[in-house]
């Protein structure tokens, strides 16, 4: 009996490993290659070795020192990326939190319609909306302005965030609102003093989602911004490929640097990510 049980346990373990190992390799091998390129000298970058003969940090020095034509605005562009990501995260949070509060807690009329429309936006891939978005931004005279990118990303991120926050809001006990109303809270005080503090885990998750979405966005940045000093780093990285003789090792070194902040953010907030994004998924 005991033997049978442990056999079954071993086989379950083996099955998990059978699935797990390929998934881990699948994820890590490209990252490893990114890293390999980044620490290889230019002439041996494509040699195909598993570890470079003479690993070097020179590529990072070039990147940080902006010592290459493609990298002449590296710090500015990294700053652009940060600005766009943080502004998108903050604005999306503002839009989504207030919308979710109004729909879920204040039960404003038309809330259901807004929710349905929000869902509807995801029937159309964001890429299809790129050209209309370009036209809209041009109408408002926002082309070549980082605000264009920020507003576009807020537009794309908000509907999903509203959904997640609405679901999470619905789980807060209704009596809390009633108690606060009797205690004398206005809707704004209810929002500020009761609702937001209780929604923190979901807000962190949703804010991080919007922030990473903007950080990783390429297409909209490519379309809406064209001045070198306005570009986010993601678009600038793409420009490396515009020449025949691309400096791969620098592209990879920059890419590696670019990948670090999201990894750090995700790691810092992963506790919230899992609980926040699944909040309201099941009735507890």
């Amino acid at each position: 009996m005991i033997k049978g049980w442990s056999l079954r346990k071993v086989s379950t373990e083996a099955q998990l490993l059978l699935v797990g190992i390929p998934v881990v390799l699948w994820t890590l091998i490209p990252v490893y290659h990114l890293f390999l390129f980044a620490i290889s000298p230019r002439d041996t970058a494509t040699s195909g070795r598993l570890w470079p003969k003479s690993p070097t940090m020179q590529n990072f020095e070039i990147v940080f020192g902006q010592k290459h034509f493609y990298l002449s605005h590296f710090w500015q562009q990294l700053g652009n990326s940060l600005l766009i990501a943080i502004a998108t995260g903050a604005l999306t949070l503002l839009v989504a939190t207030t919308a979710a509060f109004a729909i879920s807690r204040l039960k404003v009329r038309g809330g259901r319609t807004v929710m349905n429309l929000a869902l509807f936006t995801y029937f159309i891939p964001a890429a299809f909306l790129a050209v209309p978005m370009y036209k809209t931004m041009s109408n408002y005279g926002l082309l070549n302005n980082r605000w264009a990118m920020i507003l576009a990303m807020v537009t794309i991120a908000s509907p999903y965030c509203i959904w997640v926050l609405k679901q999470a809001s619905d789980k807060l006990p209704w009596e809390l609102d009633e108690a606060a109303r009797i205690d004398g809270a206005s809707p704004l005080q209810l929002f500020r003093l009761v609702y937001v503090p209780l929604m923190v885990p979901s807000l962190v998750a949703v804010g991080t989602y919007a922030l990473l979405l903007a950080w990783n966005e390429y297409l909209y940045g490519f379309l809406l911004l064209s001045k070198e000093t306005d570009l986010p780093l993601a678009v600038a990285l793409g420009n490396f490929l515009s020449a025949d003789d691309s400096p791969w090792e620098l592209l990879m070194a920059t890419g590696f640097i670019y990948a670090l902040p999201p990894a750090a953010i995700y790691y810092a907030f992963k506790r919230y990510m899992v609980s926040g994004l699944t909040a309201g998924a099941v009735k507890s």
Binding site: P173, E175, E178, A179, R181, I182, A185, L193, V194
Partner: protein
Amino acid sequence: MASVSFDKIEKNFGKVKVLHGISFDIADGEFVVLVGPSGCGKSTLLRMLAGLEEISGGDISIDGKVINDLDSKDRDIAMVFQSYALYPHMTVGENMAFSLKLRKAEKALTEERVGKAAKILNLHTLLDRYPRELSGGQRQRVAMGRAIVRDPKVFLFDEPLSNLDAKLRVAMRAEIKALHQRLKTTTVYVTHDQIEAMTMADRIVVMHDGIIEQIGTPLELFDRPGNLFVAQFIGSPAMNVFEGTLRSQQGRPWVEADGQQWPVGPVAGGKDGQGVHYGIRPGDISMVEPAQGIPATVVVVEPTGAETEIILQVGETMLTLVLHGRTDVKPDQAVGLQIAAEKVHLFEKSGGQRIG
């Protein structure tokens, strides 16, 4: 402190009418319990008084002033919820001070009020704890503390003890009653538990299907229930009720049921041959020798220590009898029943209104 008055209160949820013209007054400092089975509209009525539900018809006034269109916060009431509704991200002290904070009260005043309430409720050692670190009874006390700090005109309680275990419920019951005796604040208390209603209330309002069945002090309701519903709802174990026919000869009335003659007190009205519900409380029946009373058979004996509950069968009718003390009767034993005729309640067969 204030009086409360309900005048022809109606409530509709869409096409469904849940309150049909409720009218009654609550005196200053009175402890009134709204009691009834679930769905009778008692909580809805309380929530309308709190300003959490709109009023479909009629007027609610506090101290003679109609408050229909006032916001909850301007009605000067405080409410204790069944689920406590404590703010999870605030400490006990912050929870209790929240309403004063919203009113921008001075810090010294807030501290004084919170300190006083905490002392009354024995919470002063818990002020820095969070609600999740408290037991059910402590949370309930914090919810009450939050209400006391407000020093409102009226306290509202919405089934505050339903989430507690039986022992704690009895303890909290006494605590709430003691609190009312100390503060003398007008209190409206909603419960479905008639024992809570009996033990705590100055006056009980029995509700059923959106109407008031009867209003009275606990003992009035117990001794002279106005109709069959109240008779069966108030009292534990419940009143024995069965159908029979009222007979009367030479001014001496009795009820005929199950082939037996059941005694009726002298005051009972009604006319000969009328169909009635015959009601007698379990404590108003006693056991005698089989030959002397109405013949019955013991079915179940349930000793509870101080009292013994006995279930008996007379013909097709099952009766409950409560005996103070103990007994050595056994199931299937034949006994005689004697009924205190002056304690008998008669109700019309149709409508269930009290006769006499």
